[in-house]
Structures are given as structure tokens and as C-alpha cells.
């Protein structure tokens, strides 16, 4: 009984690949590289988009900042009472926070002050306050994973000395390490008591960095923002929607760079495809002629060419995807990640979260494998449909 799958045809296809060893290796390298680049771009984009979406979701609905001459100043804590009096405002919290530049490592830490008796404006902060006692006599802090790594590298294993604006040191113990809602947001974060944060940034007791406002009804955010602006014309009112647009703009700008890379890769791939589809070598034509002359039908030739191109393209595709997984998620995409996180010199590095997206795999598959197969089969079909005599001659 005959086998349904023609093993001899597949064997012939494998032999054909091995016979053109150098050409096959070259195609596999180029194909793998392109698949790798395309997939890596998609993987990084997906991961960062996931991070940004999560960050935006965790943002407060309204932030009120004091502005003088276009610059951000500390806001009066007393303003909270007037804001709370606005109908629709469910809560208002004064935040004490800022960026602390750690010169030795060349990175910025985001320092956030909390009070354990206050209601926190973010779930992740509530968890920290519940878990750690930051209001004890000794100053202590909870740090993000990236901060901990940076400090350890600089021999600050159990505490850290902050340099205050007056030049004196503020020693703060490391009480623990936390993992926030998202890596992008929490990796460079330090959470400590408001009292300690005020010391480090020299913020007086009656002042705060800004005020975050919670609104019961999402539909009323813009109205309440307008009311606060009317009440305090010298403030800047930032809604979560504004921040979302701002983040999105930065992301889209960075995506543009990736899009350029994507287009270049695709362009290179299509040049190869064009070259391949523009014709076969005289050797290849002759081989098809011989096969036809000894009794192969056009579809036998095409089946063999299909196997040949499928083996090469699918192998390269799988290899490219595997390398891309390793590059993005194991090695954390060196070089490419920096294009997106361009300010990494000032921020602690973060880990790309694993986001598995079948659509990406399908998209890259359909952009490469079928196109390559078609580019191999079409010129072979052109030759195979000629008279065998004409091809051999």
C-alpha cells in the first residue's frame, strides 16, 4: 500500500537544500535575522504598551500642581479643605514626592512619601503601608527591585545616605523590597514616610508637592477639574486622561522609530523576494527540465519546490522566533530596549514583562513564510510549464 505522504519527494527536497549548502545557509541567516528583528520589535512594543497601559490605569484621576511663572512649586496643604468641599470629590490627598538623583550610579530614584493613617491614592501604596512600618522612630524605606540592585552595587546594602539640600546626610534604612503594579512604574521607586521625604526634599510641614483628587463619578472629572481651576487659577490641573494622551504621544513617537526599523526589515526582505522571484539560475532551470523529461508532472515539481521552500522558511521562522524570545525576555532586549527607554541613563532599568501574543506570531508568519514560498514556487512554475525540450536545450 502506498504512503499518502511522498517521503521520497520530501527527501529530494531536503537533498536539494543540502546540495545548495551555501545558498541555503545564506537564505536561512537572512530569513532568521529578519524574523528575529520583526518579532523582537513586536515583542518589545507589546511589552512596553502593556507597561504603559498598566501605569496609566494606576494614575490618580486629578493632580493639582502649584505653578508660578510657569514653574512647579510646592502647594499649600490647606488647599485640600477647599477642594474637598467641591461636590463630587470623594477624597483629596497631599503628596510629598520627588526625584532624587543618585550621582554615583547616574540614575534618578522616584521618592514617594506616605502616611500610614491616610488613605492611599494607589493600591500598591496601601499594600506597602500595611506591610511595613515606615512611621517608626528610625527613618526607613521600602525600595523597588531596580533601586535595591543599584544601591547594592554601590555598597548600600541595609541603608542609604540621602544628601539633603543643605548638604547634610539623611540615613534611611532599607526595610524591604517591593514589586509594584508594573515594573516601569515601581522599579525606580522608593516609598518612605512623608516626614522623611520632607527632610530629604526640604518641604515644610504645611506644603506638599501636589494634591491628588479622587472623583466618585468618572464622567465628572473634567467638570471638577474646571472647578478647581476656577478656585485656584495659579494651579495646573492634570487629569488622568491628559496623562494618558501624554504617555501615548511619547509612546507613538518611539513607535515611529520602531516602525522605521520595521519598514527597513520588510524592505530588505522584499528585495530578496524580488530577486528570488525574478528568475531561476540556469542550473535550477535545467534540473526542472530533466525532472519533467523523465516523467515528473508540473505538480510534482511544484510540490517538491513547496517542501523545499517550506522547510527553509519555517525553520528560519521558528529559529527567528525562538531567538527573539530569548533576546527580549531572557536578555531584556539590549540596544533595542534603549530606543524606547531612551532616558535610561537617568532612570533605573526595568524588566520587559512577558506578554505572549499569538497575533504577533501569526502576523510575522504571514509576512514571511507564505511570501517566500510563493517567491520560490512562481518562477519554478513558469519553468515547469514550458516544454521540457525547450528547457533542457
Amino acid at each position: 500500500m502506498k504512503n499518502k505522504i511522498n517521503i521520497y519527494l520530501i527527501e529530494y527536497a531536503v537533498n536539494a537544500i543540502l546540495r545548495q549548502k551555501y545558498k541555503s545557509i545564506f537564505i536561512i541567516i537572512v530569513f532568521t535575522l529578519l524574523t528575529f528583528l520583526l518579532t523582537s520589535i513586536f515583542f518589545i512594543t507589546n511589552s512596553i504598551r502593556y507597561e504603559l497601559d498598566s501605569t496609566v490605569e494606576a494614575l490618580p484621576e486629578i493632580v493639582v500642581q502649584k505653578i508660578k511663572a510657569g514653574r512647579h512649586y510646592d502647594i499649600d496643604v490647606d488647599d485640600i479643605d477647599n477642594i474637598l468641599a467641591i461636590a463630587g470629590v470623594s477624597d483629596a490627598v497631599a503628596r510629598v514626592w520627588g526625584y532624587y538623583y543618585f550621582e554615583n550610579a547616574g540614575v534618578n530614584f522616584s521618592v514617594v512619601g506616605v502616611d500610614s493613617f491616610e488613605e492611599q491614592y494607589k493600591g500598591s501604596l496601601t499594600n506597602i503601608v500595611d506591610k511595613f512600618d515606615l512611621n517608626s522612630e528610625n527613618s526607613s524605606m521600602v525600595v523597588g527591585v531596580g533601586v535595591k540592585e543599584t544601591m547594592t552595587r554601590n555598597y548600600y546594602k541595609s541603608y542609604f545616605n540621602f544628601i539633603k539640600p543643605d548638604g547634610r546626610l539623611e540615613k534611611v534604612d532599607i526595610a524591604g523590597v517591593f514589586d509594584g503594579d508594573t515594573q516601569l512604574e515601581s522599579n525606580d521607586m522608593i516609598v518612605m514616610s512623608k516626614k522623611t521625604a520632607r527632610e530629604i526634599f526640604d518641604i515644610p510641614q504645611n506644603k506638599a508637592t501636589d494634591i491628588v483628587v479622587k472623583v466618585a463619578n468618572q464622567e465628572e472629572v473634567q467638570t471638577i477639574a474646571s472647578k478647581i481651576k476656577l478656585l485656584y487659577p495659579d494651579t495646573r490641573i492634570v487629569t488622568s486622561q491628559d496623562l494618558k494622551i501624554s504617555y501615548q504621544n511619547i509612546f507613538d513617537y518611539k513607535s515611529g522609530i520602531f516602525l522605521a526599523l520595521f519598514i527597513i526589515s520588510l524592505f530588505t526582505f522584499f528585495i530578496i523576494i524580488y530577486d528570488k522571484s525574478s528568475g531561476l539560475s540556469s542550473e535550477e532551470k535545467r534540473e526542472i527540465g530533466i525532472l519533467k523529461a523523465i516523467g515528473w508532472k508540473v505538480d510534482d515539481v511544484l510540490k517538491e519546490k513547496f517542501y523545499e521552500s517550506f522547510i527553509i522558511s519555517f525553520f528560519s521562522y521558528t529559529l527567528g522566533i525562538t531567538l527573539s524570545f530569548a533576546y527580549v525576555y531572557l536578555l531584556q532586549a539590549p540596544i533595542l530596549q534603549n530606543i524606547f527607554v531612551g532616558y535610561s541613563q537617568l532612570k533605573t532599568s526595568f524588566e520587559l514583562p512577558f506578554v505572549f501574543d499569538f497575533q504577533t506570531l501569526f502576523l510575522v508568519f504571514f509576512l514571511s513564510v507564505p511570501i517566500y514560498i510563493a517567491a520560490t514556487i512562481i518562477p519554478s512554475w513558469k519553468v515547469a510549464t514550458l516544454e521540457a525540450d525547450e528547457v533542457i536545450r
Partner: protein, 223 residues
Amino acid sequence: MIELKNITKIYEVNKNNKVTALQNINLTIKEGELIVLKGASGSGKSTILSLIAALSKPTSGEVIVDDKQISKLPDNFASIYRRDNIGFIFQKYNLIPTLSVEENILLPLVPLNPVADELQEKLISVMKKFNILHKKDSLVRNLSGGEQQRVAIARSYVNNPKIIIADEPTANLDETLSAHFIEILRELKSLGKTIVVATHDPLFFDLDFVDTEIEVHNGSLVV
């Protein structure tokens, strides 16, 4: 039986340059006959072989093999006709140099997806018959001219065709190897094969087992 009726074949080199390879020829070859087509290069011998093997179509006229008109067969049917009926020994052998002896001989059978055991038996018997078994794993490009020709003969024989066609089979062989090839032809004829040989090698002339010698001159048959 092979019949060529009023065959004309014109090759169009380009729009303004047409070459008439055959001019209104008629030829009948009976089953089991061995026909030698003689003539100088470019006389049209190879074109006759091509038409019999359905490798090309006549510009006009009919090629009939066993009462079937093969000159009008669609491409796929022409391939099946060749696979089932024709063993072609080309002048330059037309082997695939980067494949082994065994792989080259196997080629006509590949589309049939044969059963492995039967195939192996068949290949060994054919390689033995044409004295090439000891080279079965060697790449064809590393073989001598005579060995390559034996591979080409084995490949043309492996599908057990009724008709064997040989185009200038001794053009690249010395006298000893040519004589050996003639002995192979004698054996193939004794097996009942219909054989058509195109050659200008005098060794083929006046052989006792050749049924008919036909002179081809400027695209016409000279009786």
C-alpha cells in the same frame, strides 16, 4: 507502434528568425524494432526523438503511439506518458551531478511514491544489470563518462519502459565503451523494447540487430 504523420517542426528562435527542423516527415516504427536515425548534427534527428518522447509538440502533423495521439497531450498527461512508456538516454546524460548514482536512478519513480522494500529491490537489480551497483553511493559528478552513461541507461530503464530513446549515446565515449553500449542495446532489444537511436557514429551502421537505418537530412528522411 510509433507513427509520425506529416510532421513539421519549426523552432521560433525570435520573431524574425524561424528554423525548420523537420519538414513533412512520415515514419512508422513497429513494436520491438530498433531504428537508427543517422545524419549530421542539426539534421533533425534529436527533434524526432523529442517528438516521440512528447518533450515537444510538432508545429503540424501527428505523433501516434499505440493508437494514442501523444502530440496533443496536455502537459501533465505528456509527463505521465513519458513516465510510463519512455526511457530517454540523453547525449549529455542529463543526470543531476550533485546526487548519488542511486538517487539519480530513483528519480523517475519518485512521483509514484513506491513502497520502500520493492523500490530497493528494483534499484539493486537495475544497478546490477548495468554494472554500477559498486558506485551506488558515489556522486555522479565524480564518475567517469562511461559510468555516467551506465547511470543514464539505468535511469531510463528503471521504470521498465516500452520505448527506449537514445540521443547520440556514444558521442562522449571512447571506442571500447561505445562497443559496450552497443552490447547493452542488443540486450535491451532482446527484452522486447522498442529502441530509437539517433547517431552519426559509424559503429552503429550495419549492425546485425538493427532493423532499420534511416538517414535524416535537412529535416527530411532519406530512404
